[in-house]
Amino acid sequence: MSALIEARGLTKRYGGFTAVDEIDLSIDEGEVFGFLGPNGSGKSTSILMMLGLTEPTAGTVRVCGHDPARNPLAVKRQVGYLPESVGFYGDLTGAQNLRFTAELNGIPRNEAEPRIAELLDTVELEDAANQPVAQYSRGMRQRLGLADVLLKRPRLVILDDPTLGLDPAGIVWLLGIIEELSARQGIAVFLSSHQLQEVQRVCHRVGIMSHGRIVLEGTVASLTAQTDAGGFRITLKVEGANAALDGALAALPSVREASRAGIDVVIESDEDVRAAAAAAVHEHGARLLEMRANDRTLEDIYLRYFQEAVA
């Protein structure tokens, strides 16, 4: 079985600026892939190339076995795409908008009607089906967008930042749908986002984009292991800390860095120095309120690339 998305050295340059820099990707049938990265890291541009909405400068991408630039129709028949800010015809109702999409996809009327009703039900818009979309809220539009994408019974769904502008309940709901799509219907989901929590929960695999490159790729578990490199981060809450204590903590063996803001102290080290740190706090007459050692989470990794992008 070949991959649904297969990108090799995919590159997009705008003049002298390289938006996407030789990325390699492979998405399998039924997989949920989280495409993460800060704004402007080249996520959307990569997606546009996968759909033939812009031409790659170099490299190749094949979606469902077809080249989207040469044979866009074959790709678009099998792929549902929810753009970053999805729009509908405001003077048509939700159901009418879906009917139009069904017509564009050549779905016969008698098949389309029950399917539209079913999808409106899935996205919980059955009550608003006959309201003009102009009256829809942002969340409702997003949900209608999801119904619109699923109408053609796609093999692969590409969602460009679908949680943008959704409230927390809406995000949870959306993630539930995504999980169900992949688990029950075997639809592969390519999910681009700059929010992390959601991705950790529903994705089988993630890729992190930074400055147009995929800097990390793999399962969430393998990524944390990959970047952890045996390091520890120990956080303490200390009452009555002083400069002498700061010095003592920084001087502990294997400590790379120790910093303090108010009562919060963060120690980065190669080994577990909790016992030594507790002893040092006690020695300097301060009181230890709380201490935790955590592994680097995906969020830390992500934040690091985020900060790099900002800097």
């Binding site: 909405l53 999805v86 564009l104």
Partner: protein
Amino acid sequence: MSALFWKELADHFGRRRFTLLLGLVALGLVWGAFVDLGALAASGRRFFFLDVFTTTAGVPISLLSFLSFFGPVIGIALGFDAINGERTQGTLARLLAQPLHRDSVYNAKFLAALLTLGLVVASMMIVVIGLTMFRMGIAPTGEEVVRLTGLGLVTVAYLAFWLALAITASVLFRNTVTSALASIGMWFALGFLITLLGGVLADRIVPEIETTDDAVRHVNVESWAGRVSPAGLYSEATSILLDPIGGRALNLFTIEPERLEGLLSTPVSAGQSLQLVWPHIVVLVAMVAVLLAVSYVRFMREEIRA
């Protein structure tokens, strides 16, 4: 493509633009009712159904001049937000994610607007002709029918030019307001300025008119400058079509003066008039084709970012 075509057509006849289109037909109704047919009959001319379109008797401005001045507004109104309107609405990316070719989007939009223009022009002309028949109690002759059909075709081609211009602007400019303003700017430039410039140019090239030759050259320079503009082409073509006697005056100066008198009292046949306006129609269609080609190339290669 047909799904999009019908949706576009429904849009044009939908509430947004319907008032405008209806207004044009209503105008035909008013003109048809108020044109002073008595004055036309008294002038002793033989072509009532043609004169109804060109006369100013009983109405402030002839129907034809009105079409020539304000027809472009209709063409522009149907096209200025064709592509960038979808973009602003956020529907363009969604539309192009469906299995249809990019050129289908473009073609469906152009054809739906063109058909709308055709229907509106035809309705308006039928209203005017119908009213005139009702008031006069006579039917148009075969010759008049041929000429009026020609007028309808030239008018649609003329409006199609402004439609194509507006669609091109909607591809080139991201903002619907910008494209509307650009289209209206072009309307002023091509509709009015060129005609004025033609006069200036003719005065420059032929400063003093002393002989018949000078007069011929002056008129030639002026009319060639006018032919750069679709409005110039349109007024030339319609005057040939609607005035079987005077319309040939275009070539007035190439005819020997002693033959002129006899010629001017005999109308030319409809076939000959059509032959005369054929180049005008071809040039108008060619202008449309050039505009469409420009926006087509641009749109096909464009990046569709949501």
